[in-house]
Symmetry: C2
Subunit: 690 residues, 2 copies
């Protein structure tokens, strides 16, 4: 049924008044599409072409059992299309193309987020664990089979009792030198593995994370390859589990629980890249520090977070494409002329959709930066301890903001489409349900922001190394107005964003690009400095009191991390605008970037006022300028969502197919004919008195 809603988008539709006057700047849509598709645009186009096949699309109304089987069979189609192995080495059928692999993977969200995430479980987590945490013997044994879906696998990290705090998981893997085996064991109910894709039905093996114990010492969390089901789909001896059942979304994935009762696997099943156990039980690792070893192993799996940032942004773009297209056709309530007003001509409707479009653009450009960093680290062109740490921080920061933004945007789009938005056929509610869990999996967003915040504090503290307390005090006081600190080393002041202020020709009371940049940067610096200043007392306190002090500042630290991520998005957007040659495109994207920047200022306006960064007059100008920018961008809204480059087969929502315009035209023609025929009923006369 789904394909009945795919109709060609009316490219030859009569222009309605959402079109800008002919002398106004316009964006060059194909050029902007190229920009948005980014570094791996060709691969994204290939993926989108593949996804035009309805075999990949979600069917609404299936039971979760039917949906699971459909998605599982779709994984097979992906293998047939060679769509999933790009990240792996050539000798195992891959292309060693890390950025391209994720770019392609992210696009799957257009077909069905369940397909994206089930593919992510199989290849981004299970197969990647074998590749990233294992060594050649593991690759030779399992990699090709995992890539080709001969071994469907679960990634058994999370436990019922421990999600965010992976280091504290309860599952043990105790080495038994007499048989050269590891004994995988679940000691209590809270240590059951939980929420694992592929665990309830399809998985025949799992990469199981457990505390590695040998010679009476716990060497911390390591990963083991553990077969879990036989060829008939029955659990192997010692393995048990449960189905997690129906979820809030992503019901095409068979999430489930696993537990192990003294399950023995050969010593070789330890994925031993970062830690190994010799036959006699001796432990060795190339990374001496247990903490650094743990974070290195986790960091090897950062691609999940990276790809969620991209997929969430693509989902936001799709939702806005649907809502803006509908908002440009749907009419409600007669306007001054008697004709009904197009929704997107309402001030409130513009305020609901256009700023979210600006944020989605910012995220798209920021994501391409993230993907390039990821590719450089994993492709080896810039793989240092520092670049890995930067990548992890950036991924944590951007993933948090973009996944929350997706929920917010898809929901606003759904509400902006009214009752139509609530029908499954129009896609928005499905996207909303499926994307929901993106904000808490692969790292709970609040936990990720805390990680970013701590990194900011660490970078801040580095500036004081070797200084005595008096110097530090002077520094802390002095830097309030200064620019000595930028944040997480992701972009130093030296490498400031290109071409500031060239774009924004509409000068507004100190709210031009360079002012936006200064205000956003300043806020990050000040917030980090403020938290750091308050936390300095912690060193002199008891552990309990120090923890309480940190806790008191937790909300603000997370807010600082968010501010930092927003700044990075703004900078990426600004760089993208600067790289545009076409004057009309540059102009319009400049407005959109201004809208994003001003939106951030408005969101945090009370902070800017309380900290004396904006006068009342400038603060009042922020809201007014946003209103004007929305109005100025309104004629470009359709162009800007068309530039995402989705084909009708990707959009698939009947309300964005042109059907609404047909209905409006039919109704208007009916009333016009009626009037012309002279048979229209008269209007009731108003009574002379009330």
């Amino acid at each position: 049924m789904a394909d009945t809603s795919v109709r060609p988008q009316a490219s030859d539709a009569e222009p309605t008044h959402e079109v800008a006057p002919s002398d106004a700047p316009r964006i060059d849509i194909p050029l902007v599409t190229d920009k948005l598709l980014g570094t791996w645009g060709d691969i994204r186009r290939t993926a989108r072409e593949m996804l035009k096949d309805s075999a990949f699309w979600r069917i609404d109304g299936q039971t979760h059992h039917e949906h699971r089987e459909r998605v599982y069979s779709q994984l097979g189609l992906l293998v047939q299309h060679n769509a999933i192995g790009r990240a792996f080495p050539v000798e195992y059928g891959g292309e060693n193309n890390n950025g391209g692999n994720l770019a392609s993977f992210e696009e799957l969200v257009l077909a069905d987020p369940s397909l994206q995430i089930k593919a992510g479980v199989q290849w981004g987590l299970f197969t990647s664990a074998i590749y990233q945490l294992g060594t050649k013997k593991h690759w030779d044994k399992w990699l090709k089979a995992a890539i080709e879906l001969e071994i469907p696998g679960a990634f058994a990290m999370t436990e019922t009792g421990h999600g965010s705090d992976v280091a504290a998981i309860g599952t043990t893997a105790t080495y038994a030198p007499e048989t050269e085996e590891f004994v995988i064991h679940t000691p209590f109910r809270g240590a059951w593995k939980d929420y694992l894709g592929n665990a309830a039905v399809h998985g025949t093996a799992a990469t199981v994370f457990a505390q590695l114990i040998t010679g009476g010492v716990n060497y911390g969390v390591h990963c083991f390859f553990v077969p879990i089901r036989d060829e008939n789909g029955e659990f192997l001896p010692g393995v048990g589990g449960e189905d997690d059942g129906v979820k809030g979304g992503l019901n095409g994935i068979d999430n489930g629980r696993l537990h192990f009762t003294e399950v023995r696997v050969p010593r070789e099943n330890l994925l031993n890249r970062y830690g190994d156990v010799a036959a006699d039980g001796t432990y060795s690792s190339p990374i001496a520090s247990p903490g650094r070893r743990f974070f290195t192993m986790l960091g090897a799996l950062v691609q999940g977070r990276v790809s969620l940032d991209g997929a969430a942004t693509t989902a936001s773009a799709l939702a806005l494409n649907i809502a803006v297209t509908y908002g440009n056709q749907r009419r409600q309530f007669a306007g001054a002329s008697g004709a009904e007003t197009v929704l997107l001509d309402y001030g409130k409707h513009q305020r609901r959709l256009i700023p979210r479009l600006a944020t989605t653009y910012a995220q798209t450009f920021a994501h391409d930066e993230l993907l390039r960093k990821f590719d450089a680290v994993f492709g080896g062109t810039n793989d240092t301890e520092e670049s890995r740490e930067d990548l992890e921080t950036l991924a944590a920061a951007l993933k948090s903001l973009s996944t929350w933004h997706a929920l917010d945007t898809v929901q606003e789009a759904r509400e902006a489409c009214g009752g139509s938005g609530f029908l499954a056929e129009n896609r928005l509610v499905g996207l909303r349900s499926d994307l929901d869990v993106y904000v808490t999996f692969e790292g709970d967003n609040n936990v990720l922001l805390q990680l970013v915040g701590k990194r900011l504090l660490g970078d801040y503290a580095k500036q004081f190394k070797g200084k005595d307390s008096k110097e530090i005090a002077a520094f802390v006081v002095g830097q309030t107005a200064g620019k000595v600190f930028h944040g997480a080393g992701l972009r130093q002041l030296g490498q400031a964003v290109a071409d500031l202020g060239q774009v924004a020709r509409s000068v507004e009371l100190g709210l031009r690009a360079k002012d936006q940049h200064e205000l956003l940067t300043d806020r990050v610096q000040q917030m980090v400095a403020d938290v750091a200043g308050r936390l300095r007392a912690a060193t002199k306190l008891s552990p309990d009191a120090a923890a309480a002090l940190f806790n008191e500042n937790q909300v603000e630290l997370l807010e600082a991390a968010r501010a930092h991520a927003e700044l990075l998005q703004w900078e990426a957007f600004t760089d993208a605008v600067a790289s545009v040659e076409d004057a009309g495109t540059k102009q319009v994207l400049g407005w959109l970037r201004d809208l994003f920047g001003l939106g951030l200022l408005e969101k945090h306006l009370s902070w800017y006022l309380m900290h004396g960064r904006l006068s009342n007059q400038r603060a009042i100008a922020v809201g007014r300028y946003i209103d004007r920018l929305c109005l100025r961008l309104r004629p470009h809204a359709q162009d800007l969502v068309d530039a995402f480059g989705f084909a009708p087969e990707h959009v698939r929502a009947p309300i964005a197919s042109g059907a609404e315009k047909e209905r409006q035209d039919e109704a208007a023609a009916y009333y016009a004919d009626l009037a012309a025929s002279g048979t229209a009923p008269a209007k009731e006369k108003k009574p002379s008195t009330r």
Copy 2:
């Protein structure tokens, strides 16, 4: 399966440290439960008792077809329990108890929101249309059958092309005097009736809204009783339709589309309380003004909005009960002592849940006020044109805020429960999906807020009646700092809230109750005055320019309406606190009210700063005070959610059943035993160099 998750809540659980010190004030939980259940508490308790039967509960994972049949059969159970007819007259089996009827109806959300809304379609819309818009002949013919579900019916108002703008619907009902019939007709696709519960499968009749045309004159929208299906469930001649299919939630309801091709119904099928057509085609109405007649008919159906306010608030309470209970048991990351920290001890977790609890309390008390107004109007104890208008405004204001709050709160609760929150068994994702459409049905929230805003402007303008423009100008200037206007006449300054300031003993830099009240009131007044001032120019403009001017001010008008609703909620909360005798309860609820008030100030802090209502110093104090209130209320969080009075059969979420505490205890005991046994693996030694 659902009932396996129902376990007695651990009332005898050991106190953990969420319990306040013994000398601190505590709330009297049963007393607060009585307060929260409100005026019709006894009826709410009866409904909740009935809903302990698992026959009423939602089963996750059903197809929408199965779910629809289950809910339909549940409607039959409601009839058997005499749970649905209270609002109707005694002679038709009712009790003429309007407030009690809605109170009982709202509680259904605890069993399954689909059950609530399907019951709402049958009795709150379809049957109520017969009762409120019809006359004795209709009651005698159809009322008892509709009440007893012998006639399942659809409420056919909304069309594909017109939701918010009901006056513009396209369906026509043309009187044919020769046969004394109305011809119901759908002239074009956009005029199909759409999103109608009971239309896809179960409905055998519909109350159809159509433009009444007689003698060549259109008398506007009226309602007609139209049979649509025969005893075999087949559409009657001329009637057609479609299934709306799967939706984002509420899939226990068979929403569908209907269209009519010259369907003839007897003249008597016009529900003629507010407008009638004589046999010869002469139109008559007790309300001469077409506009007022239209709004009177619509206003007769206001109970939908009233009940959504209550149901959304109950759903928020349930979500907070689940998340706070879990947050008080779940531990993650080791704290200073080495033991893992309870989630609700984290500053951010407190900030996520406790302010939303404060808002939910405010809404609960405000809803009881709304319900009493509703009961007075519909029960006839205070049924005037003005009281009806007040009721409609208040319902629009409160429904908008509380339905949005429900989505926000349920989502925050779901995220606060992490991956567990995403499992259907834990209720939150189901509530979120089902409640989604509450924000756009029975009046799109933005459209409702605009209605409230226009009412505020109207009330404001009344003050200038008879004044000349010079006086008005002086007035507008003068009132900035004054208090001449309160807003929508819902509560005059004379009837100020009781007992201000007695409660808040913790004096904070001018942020006590009376300051909160002044600041909140002042903001409503100022915003309305500002918008009104800018709109005054409209009278001198062309229609187009006037519309553009209004459009420019739309966002701010909606914001003023929201501010007004927030003030009303604050006042209701304050009155409720004032009515409490018990000192400990009064103290704690006073803090919670302060948290609600301060939360509103924080949300609008930039406005207060820009308009000179708060100094920087006071503004900074707002956030700090909120932090302290969260910390102070943290030991009361469990009491406050327990006070909602839900039984395990209402909560049903395994994570809020005590199971998490059992798991935590088991894990802690395991590690304690291991340590005691002397067989615990040693910790890996840290390397001496990095």
